[in-house]
């Protein structure tokens, strides 16, 4: 049998709590077995400044974090802070794949409407169909009226664009305006380092100065 790579030592009979901690840390995205061991050691070293506060934050998150019943965002209140914020434009809904995309758009401070989190993306390869995503709740939000524009802010991947296409199709009969994010040269990007697809998109969508 291959040794468990998350094992601190090969034949330790004690310290199971540490091994368990390393195993769980290794499941976090971005942490492999080696960095999980380093993280566990660091946590034990910084018991009062890091380990205890982190355990506390995890417990609080587990107890308090909810999924917004309107948009699928994650927050400690339901509806979430964005859905509950009366200053935000309810006539505009930005559809994103995941909560992380919502956070990214909020950090950029470009959008003052509401969101809708699909919770994934259509993918024939992974067997994800329309029923697996929060599409019906989007349709009923639109059907209630008051929505003027739906921004389809999917990732610029094949599956992302296919999902955006599908949603544009579904929404085409409802009278709302659908839109997509522009493709082009990233700000700060150098032409020499861009892929052909991005360059072609940027060229095709060129604008008069």
């Amino acid at each position: 049998m291959a040794p468990d790579v998350t094992d601190r030592m090969s034949d330790s009979s004690s310290g199971r709590e540490i091994d368990r901690l390393i195993q769980l840390l290794a499941k976090l995205p971005g942490l492999g077995p080696r960095s999980a061991r380093r993280a566990a050691l660091d946590l034990i070293k910084k018991r009062d400044s890091l380990l205890v506060p982190l355990a506390d934050a995890l417990n609080k998150t587990a107890a308090q974090v909810k999924i917004c019943s309107v948009c699928g965002n994650i927050d400690t209140i339901d509806p979430c802070g964005i859905c509950a914020d009366g200053r935000r434009d309810g006539g505009s809904i930005c559809v994103v794949e995941e909560v992380g995309d919502l956070w990214a758009l909020e950090r950029a401070s470009v959008f003052r409407g509401r969101y809708h989190v699909l919770g994934g993306i259509l993918s024939a390869l992974d067997g994800v169909g329309p029923d697996d995503l929060n599409i019906e709740s989007l349709m009923s939000r639109v059907a209630k009226g008051g929505v003027k524009e739906v921004v389809l802010a999917m990732n610029a991947t094949v599956d992302g664009q296919a999902t955006a296409h599908y949603l544009a199709d579904r929404l085409s009969g409802t009278g709302v305006q659908t839109s997509r994010l522009a493709h082009g040269v990233p700000v700060g990007g150098e032409l020499d380092y861009l892929d052909d697809g991005t360059l072609a998109a940027a060229f095709k969508s060129r604008r008069p100065t």
Copy 2:
């Protein structure tokens, strides 16, 4: 003021627990602000399979993990499992910089003696002197008698080797045999990719076949 890079969103008024969780995760070695956000989202998604167990493991670790009063190892018992294990050779002590180094040697299963964790390394640059490390406890372990060999398994860095040199000096009057790890070509290593220092060390320590 520069925005806090660990902020999920720039102006969120709710979800402070999530922000706090991200800030703490970003302090782990190997996780930056971006991967901390991804890890937090992943934890929230996998509430029952990852978030709650991790909080649990952290609490247990905080409550149960101790530092061995003999060797400085981390374990749930004191003396630690290695110091308490009668099958291990008390006549041989392997001195390492950190607990992670002890774990690495245990995984390699090359050493059946006891350990001594210095808790750092001599460094003029960082202002770490002999009094900041567990050197006196090593000297008193040796002074008690019964120790035949002390393996100085410091890292092959300048500070590591300086520390090994210092310890060899301190131990030279006690009658114990000190030794260091061999330098050479790593197993599986290709000469073409090795640095000059390693190659030179491997050549100098060449052995008749």
